[in-house]
């Protein structure tokens, strides 16, 4: 039985962000932008969607008088990511 892949994660940029955040404790917005080669606007929108889904937490603070955005994956995000990978493996091992 195939489960539907999580629509929040089954999108290129959001999946890229989640894959980066699953490997680290936390990352700055600029790091995510560098690694995904996305524009700041696109990335902000997708990060907001992940935040609304409860998959990541976003911390806005100041560092040396400059605004700094830090992203961190939540326990719900880790569970969703693991479930997504599990479902993905099911699709790949038992193709339709």
């Amino acid at each position: 039985m195939f489960k539907d892949l999580d629509p929040i994660l089954h999108s290129q940029l959001r999946l890229a962000v989640m894959s980066l955040l699953i490997s680290v404790k936390e990352a700055e917005f600029t790091f995510l932008k560098e690694q995904t080669n996305a524009t700041a606007g696109n990335l902000s929108v997708q990060i907001q969607k992940l935040k609304e889904a409860g998959y990541i937490e976003v911390i806005k603070q100041f560092k040396d008088n400059y605004p700094q955005t830090i992203c961190r994956i939540t326990p719900a995000g880790i569970t969703a990511f693991e479930e997504y990978v599990k479902n993905l493996q099911t699709y790949l091992t038992n193709p339709k």
């Binding site: 890229a16 700055e28 790091f31």
Partner: protein
């Protein structure tokens, strides 16, 4: 990267693998701290060796250089933390391991100085009674104690960061520790200097090179 591009299952898996690898590769230590400590310990050991070999004494203890080196180390740590855009899960543990190492070294110095104090008066007493100097020399066993401690955080850091030069550097410190138990003080000092070079200076130079090439790559990507 397009914002809402739907992916095939293969593309998803490929993207996940690629991003996880990118995140792993993004962690780069500048290596400056390791270079500095490798150089400082090697210099201290070699200067002490020359004091022992040529029979002169500097007006100050050369190992005080290690205390002076704490100041740039603090500044380096603050700067590296500020520049770091990613925090890994290992970061706080490694910080605590190196802090614990620093405290252990400090405690070992206190213990050794106390033993020297006690031992000196006991050795004098022995000489007065027997007319012969004591055959046991505690100073021969100081270097192995330090080498044992040097190996521990170096080995753990090398293993945790999957950085082989440091892992082997830690093992080399322990091999030198065993050898130094059986060798005279001059050889002990050479072993300490070589250990500092192989455990910290050389891995530090490799780290610094990798950090520079990573920075160059990032600069190229962002042009």
């Amino acid at each position: 990267m397009e914002q809402e591009k739907k992916l095939t299952e293969q593309e998803s898996l490929h993207l996940i693998t690629m991003m996880i690898n990118k995140a792993k590769e993004s962690y780069h230590d500048t290596g400056i701290g390791a270079i500095m400590w490798g150089a400082v310990i090697a210099i201290c050991s070699l200067v002490r060796l020359s004091e022992v070999h040529f029979g002169y004494k500097l007006p100050f203890d050369i190992y005080l250089l290690t205390l002076v080196a704490i100041i740039p180390q603090i500044l380096i740590s603050i700067r590296e933390k500020k520049e770091r855009k990613v925090k890994s899960y290992d970061d706080p543990y490694l910080d605590y391991i190196w802090l614990g190492f620093g405290i252990a070294i400090f405690l070992l110095i206190i213990i050794i100085n106390n033993i020297f104090g006690e031992w000196g008066s006991w050795a004098n007493e022995f000489k007065n009674i027997t007319g012969k100097p004591a055959s046991f020399r505690f100073s021969e066993y100081v270097a192995p104690l330090f080498l044992m401690l040097y190996g521990l955080p170096t080995f753990i850091t090398g293993a945790a960061c999957k950085f082989k030069p440091m892992l082997w550097g830690g093992i080399f410190c322990w091999i030198c520790c065993i050898i130094a138990v059986y060798t005279p003080i001059k050889i002990d000092l050479v072993l300490t200097a070589v250990s500092a070079i192989l455990a910290w200076l050389v891995p530090g130079v490799i780290m610094e090179k990798e950090y520079r090439s990573y920075k160059k790559e990032q600069a190229k990507l962002n042009v």
